[in-house]
């Protein structure tokens, strides 16, 4: 019988290799293109690129649904000017010329008078090195991306402590680890490599332990699940530290040679008390066992003594390790002492500590890689410590997240597993210590650029971004006493502060792909009110709002001017080593996107629009000497821009096409990327594959390809000098002093060693609020983006509040029931479901499923806009009032990370609403795009 089907259909007419944009993973994709009946090339199928360093051919649910993202009916079609009241969604379409001139007319006077009146914040931005460069040229100090409400605790704690972080910046040694600990709720970063890695661990029979209040996804396949009570991870980790110390299950050699554990701490009372002792060149001092005297830590023949003591002038300086022993051997960290609080039995805590010890030291081996360390010593092997750790947003999103993340790094360091074979590995450009990063800059000069990059790493009060009167220089109060080490800024405070005029008022809010009028803000209802609030004269409190997005999100309705972006298949993008590249532990790598189909709408890639706007404003770097526009478009920038001589946005194919890292701009560079599958790779030399912070071969290679200009070896920093410097200020030392209301908090939380404190203390304003409410992103969705995707929204179109068995049974819930959920800030009424696999004190739901009617081109009957809901209505960007009249941000006191997960609620069963809609509900937005079609059946046919 002849087949009734074609067994060998051609997938498409051609394959374009580019980079996915459905999450922060940035996998390589093969886009199969096929001409339709009119001869127009359409996307027919998307699959993973087998040659790509990130995903090696696989692709997640989001990536494989990219075709529906690209074709989404929610795509904006032309620049929009508001015609109705702000928030109504009423717009008229205008030309790009009108759009550019409108924006220029708003921005040019700001730049000439006070550039800080512009707040430019980007959300889903994968070109931060570019957008920050633009903002710096404009001259405003008010720039950041969305890291402050996402991950800054993780990133900052990692960089300050071990010179690198989890997520896209580091990775478990998937091929060698034997015990993997995955901390924290939410299972997103980085998406496919973790799934691939878990698959490898399973194949090899390695043990996976999930420490997470919720047993979904990765935790469902974890061999062992520790359903920790939210916000107590730090206490659990320090209890593990206690057990390991007590049993001497420590890598003493590693600690002595590669960490600051042997560094001597100043014991003299006064302004330097508690700071690491240093020599005149600023090198930390250790006690040398051989010479019995203090010596510079990096001397070739130094023998750092973990228990060294230096008696000097009547005081005895002791080591960091001495302080660690005193701190964590305290009975307060014993498993029995913490068990109830963390929700894990002492027996299970001990079992985990015992397993860590067993695997780290009994299953270790010597990896036959000879190497030379930064002291110049030759080692014939590397000692494996096959215990790897990784952490997720649940660690980051509490107000104790910075210290909790530091606790994880302490645990890793004690067993010697950071950068050891089998342990946690950095991806280039990491390791890179905090001291090698820029400091933040905030000096504003009318008509001129800012004095340096906005974001960076502070090392003490001198580096804060304060105005002459001591008030915050930035609208988000980043790098102020409120949250001194806020390396990513505080996007979640921008609208709130701008509305309150605290620390000052602004003129224009310019946002890029940040759904601040919905799921990306705490206190969504309040944020919408702030964006629409008017003064007595009828003007808006926040006078101008410019917004760029590719899709008809809720935020679009709150803009005065909308700049429509393209989809990810229609534009150039640069996944650059200058910000957030796609490296792997064994290679530096970067990538591009390039237009594989032409837009069928009057849209412009945002970066190209920003360059045009920059040229019209005459921003330095964006115009030639004669005032003409310097870059034709973003692709031109990607090729020709140089950050330092020979260092540009893209690493590969520089100079004559053969240079990697450093080299002159190559006009043919993008073609070479496209030929190579849209990425470039530079392999770390074999001798430099592990122990990178101290490994001469790695450091020299990093300099060679331009990651930094001189080797940057460093000691793991268990004792944080910056934290101690802020603490000293709070104790009254130094010129720059914190305001009195922050003194006690800084003293308590800026401990130079990792500590645990209850992050939710200030939230439980009523004894009813005993339950923690969490959200997590499903693996198949990317925040609000997935909802416009006809395929993905069928997977996660509904989000009940999941209740643990205890609550479910105590209140007699049944399937189909609803609950009223109350927090100190608000109330929602939502559908519930039972989920046994979660911590008894926790409820949760999927993040950003709930939608506002009228947004995302959804129909009136979309479940997302009826039953769907956000927990955001229950979360305030400020702490509950303390009666002092101050606006206390709901953030980590150290980094300003939004404390999304410190949400305390009461849950009570209620009658289902008559209309079966969750509350609150809001007016339907007018649509700048028509609603989506009734039927989708996307087959490209000739």
């Amino acid at each position: 019988m002849k087949d009734h089907f074609d067994p060998s259909p051609k997938v498409g007419d051609r394959v374009a290799k580019t980079t996915c944009y459905m999450c922060a993973c940035r996998c390589g994709i093969d886009v199969h293109l096929k001409a339709d009946a009119e001869g127009v090339e359409r996307v027919a199928y998307i699959e993973g690129n087998r040659d790509h360093p990130v995903n090696k051919g696989v692709l997640c649910a989001k990536g494989a649904s990219g075709i529906m993202q690209h074709n989404a009916p929610s795509r904006l079609r032309a620049p929009l000017r508001r015609t109705g009241p702000r928030g109504s969604g009423q717009f008229e379409e205008i030309t790009w010329e009108e759009a550019y001139e409108t924006a220029r007319a708003i921005l040019a006077p700001i730049r000439e008078t006070d550039p800080s009146k512009l707040a430019f914040f980007t959300g889903r931005d994968q070109s931060q090195s570019f957008t920050s460069w633009w903002a710096q040229a404009f001259g405003t100090p008010n720039y950041a991306a969305h890291g402050g409400f996402c991950s800054v605790n993780m990133a900052a704690a990692g960089i300050y402590t071990v010179g690198g972080a989890f997520w896209e910046f580091g990775s478990p040694d998937w091929e060698k680890t034997k015990l993997f600990l995955l901390f924290g709720c939410a299972e997103d970063h980085d998406s496919n490599p973790i799934k691939m890695g878990l698959g490898r661990l399973k194949e090899r029979g390695a043990r996976v332990v999930g420490i997470n209040p919720i047993r979904t996804g990765y935790n469902a396949v974890a061999d062992d699940w520790y359903g920790v009570t939210p916000g107590t991870d730090g206490l659990l980790i320090l209890s593990l530290v206690h057990c390991l110390l007590k049993a001497g299950q420590l890598d003493l050699r590693y600690l002595a040679e590669f960490s600051d554990a042997p560094v001597l701490i100043d014991a003299r009372p006064g302004a330097t008390h508690g700071l690491p002792l240093k020599d005149d060149d600023g090198h930390a001092l250790v006690w040398c066992r051989k010479e019995q005297r203090p010596r510079c830590y990096d001397a070739e023949d130094v023998e750092p003594d973990l228990n060294g003591a230096w008696a000097q002038d009547g005081v005895t300086h002791r080591t960091v390790f001495h302080a660690i022993a005193h701190r964590y051997l305290d009975g307060a960290y014993a498993p029995e002492a913490v068990a109830e609080r963390v929700g894990i039995s002492a027996r299970r805590i001990r079992a985990l500590a015992g397993e860590i010890a067993r695997v780290a030291f009994e299953e270790s081996w010597e990896e036959p890689i000879a190497w030379t360390d930064f002291r110049g010593r030759r080692h014939e092997t590397m000692t494996a410590r096959p215990v790897a750790m990784h952490a997720m947003r649940g660690i980051s999103a509490h107000a104790n997240g910075f210290q909790t993340c530091r606790a994880i790094h302490l645990l890793q360091t004690l067993i010697g597993s950071v950068e050891a074979p089998g342990g946690f590995r950095f991806k280039p450009p990491y390791p890179k210590p905090a001291t090698a990063h820029p400091k933040p800059h905030c000096k504003v000069t009318p008509g001129a650029p800012l004095d340096g990059p906005h974001l960076g790493f502070v090392h003490g009060p001198d580096d804060l971004c304060l105005r002459d009167d001591g008030t915050p220089a930035r609208i988000d109060k980043a790098f102020s006493w409120d949250n001194p080490m806020s390396a990513h800024g505080l996007m979640h405070m921008v609208i709130s502060n701008a509305h309150a005029g605290d620390p000052y008022e602004i003129d224009t809010l310019f946002l890029y792909m940040a759904n601040m009028a919905w799921n990306s803000s705490m206190n969504t209802t309040g944020t919408m009110a702030m964006l629409t609030d008017q003064r007595d004269d009828g003007s808006y409190v926040i006078p101008n709002v410019i917004y760029a997005d590719a899709y008809s999100s809720e935020m679009v309705a709150y803009a005065d001017l909308v700049l429509p972006d393209t989809t990810y298949l229609e534009r150039h993008d640069c996944i650059s080593l200058l910000d957030r590249p796609i490296c792997e532990p064994e290679a530096a790598a970067d990538a591009i996107r390039h237009p594989v189909v032409a837009p069928d709408r009057d849209v412009v890639p945002f970066q190209t629009a920003l360059l045009e706007l920059g040229a019209r404003l005459g921003l330095p770097g964006m115009v030639n000497d004669d005032g003409s526009k310097k870059y034709a478009d973003f692709a031109d920038y990607m090729v020709r821009h140089e950050r330092r001589p020979g260092i540009g946005p893209l690493m590969g194919f520089r100079g004559n096409g053969e240079a990697t890292g450093r080299g002159a701009p190559n006009p043919d560079q993008l073609n070479r990327y496209i030929e190579n599958g849209a990425f470039a790779v530079a392999h770390v030399p074999a001798e430099g594959l592990y122990m990178k912070p101290w490994n001469k071969a790695y450091q020299d290679w990093a300099v060679e390809i331009g990651l930094y200009d001189a080797p940057q070896p460093f000691l793991i920093t268990l004792w944080s000098e910056p934290l101690r410097r802020f603490q000293l200020a709070a104790e009254g030392h130094g010129e720059r002093q914190p305001p009195d209301h922050l003194r006690e908090r800084i003293k308590a939380t800026f401990d130079p060693l990792p500590i645990w404190y209850d992050p939710m203390e200030g939230h439980a304003t009523d004894p009813r609020f005993t339950i923690t409410a969490l959200t997590q992103r499903p693996a198949a969705m990317y925040h609000s983006w997935g909802t416009q995707n006809a395929w993905l929204r069928q997977i996660h179109g509904r989000n009940p509040l999941y209740l643990p068995t205890g609550i479910w049974e105590a209140q007699g819930f049944r399937e189909g029931d609803w609950a009223r959920v109350t927090s100190p800030h608000g109330e929602i009424v939502v559908p519930v479901a039972h989920m046994p696999g979660q911590n008894d004190e926790t409820v949760w739901t999927w993040n950003a499923i709930g939608k506002r009617k009228g947004a995302w081109a959804l129909h009136e009957n979309a479940p997302e806009a009826n039953q769907g809901f956000l927990l955001n209505h229950l979360i305030h960007e400020l702490m509950p009032p303390k009666g002092d009249g101050l606006r206390w941000s709901n953030s980590d006191p150290i980094t300003g990370q939004a404390a999304w997960f410190d949400l305390k609620v009461a849950v009570e069963k209620c009658a289902p609403p008559a209309d079966l809609r969750s509350t609150p509900q809001f007016e339907t937005l007018d649509r700048p795009v028509p609603p989506g079609p009734d039927v989708v059946a996307w087959e490209v046919k000739r």
């Binding site: 009734h4 089907f5 074609d6 060998s8 259909p9 997938v11 199928y45 051919g57 696989v58 692709l59 997640c60 649910a61 494989a64 799934k195 691939m196 878990l198 194949e203 332990v209 047993r215 979904t216 996804g217 990765y218 061999d223 062992d224 699940w225 007590k246 050699r253 002595a256 066992r289 003594d305 973990l306 228990n307 001495h322 022993a325 005193h326 051997l329 009975g331 299970r348 001990r350 985990l352 500590a353 015992g354 397993e355 067993r358 198949a780 006809a790 395929w791 929204r793 069928q794 179109g797 046994p836 696999g837 081109a857 129909h859 979309a862 079609p933 039927v935 059946a937 996307w938 087959e939």
Partner: protein, 253 residues
């Protein structure tokens, strides 16, 4: 009524590892994408931006169970046609549209002959078939029959879309009638099972059960030996005892 062929010599099918599947739905949308563009009518989505009811050939279900002791466990179970040896969906078909291939055991629907009566979906105990309301024909997993023999694809890509995309490597494809095949060996090593064997359908697809969970600390004594204190526990000032041990230990490093 449609007859089944003699038992095929080659039985192509999937092995799905429930120990490894994280429930990410990658297989679901890769399948949707391929089979919307290829093999018969596209998999349509009705009221696509409203209530949304679409056709899928592969869906992931999640089950949570509470063992007698220890924490609750969740299993993600992707489910598609299992290409049964005794496929009731074939024998029930009044037109012969639903059939099992003699050469490789794949169960297919000839959409040209299908009248969309839905009897096969009723007969399938696994709920693995869905009528596409737009096309009015029965849709089901084809094991990507237009990939696995597709001469326009590189050899390495001649496997079902769901297998190629699975990030966790939880899906495997091969000849389950060949005891030497990688999939058969995996099934043997991991104790692969039939889904609902009591139905007597003799499914070709196999599921690998989750390994035992939450066993850490079961052998308490062994792990406890790694936590024996290195100094005398006094309850107070233990750091002094620890630092004494440290000095001795450092002598040996």
């Amino acid at each position: 009524m449609t007859t089944l062929p003699a038992p095929p010599k080659v039985k192509l099918g999937l092995v799905i590892d429930l120990d490894t599947c994280v429930g990410c739905h990658a297989c679901v949308t890769a399948c949707k994408g391929w089979n919307t563009q290829n093999y018969g009518a596209p998999l349509s989505d009705r009221d696509a931006y409203g209530e949304a009811e679409g056709t899928f050939l592969n869906r992931v279900h999640s089950y949570t169970m509470q063992p007698g002791s220890g924490p609750a466990q969740t299993v993600h179970m992707p489910k598609s046609c299992l290409h049964c040896d005794d496929a009731p969906c074939v024998t029930v078909c009044p037109t012969g549209a639903s059939y099992k291939r003699a050469e490789d055991g794949i169960v297919l629907v000839n959409e040209d002959a299908c009248m969309g009566c839905g009897l096969c979906a009723w007969a399938c105990p696994y709920g693995a078939r869905e009528v596409d309301e737009l096309a009015g024909v029965m849709k089901k997993c084809t094991l990507c029959v237009d990939r696995i023999y597709n001469e326009t694809l590189p050899e390495i890509d001649r496997q079902p879309a769901c297998v190629r995309t699975c990030p966790a490597g939880a899906r495997h494809y091969g000849d389950l009638n060949d005891p030497a095949s990688a999939v058969s060996q995996l099934v043997a090593a991991r104790g692969g099972v039939d889904l609902m064997p009591e139905q007597g359908t003799k499914p070709v697809n196999q599921y690998l059960p989750p390994r035992p969970r939450d066993t850490l600390g079961a052998d308490e004594d062994i792990l406890a030996s790694f936590l024996a204190p290195v100094y005398e526990e006094t309850g107070a000032e233990e750091a002094t005892g620890f630092l004494g041990w440290l000095d001795r230990a450092l002598e040996k490093v």
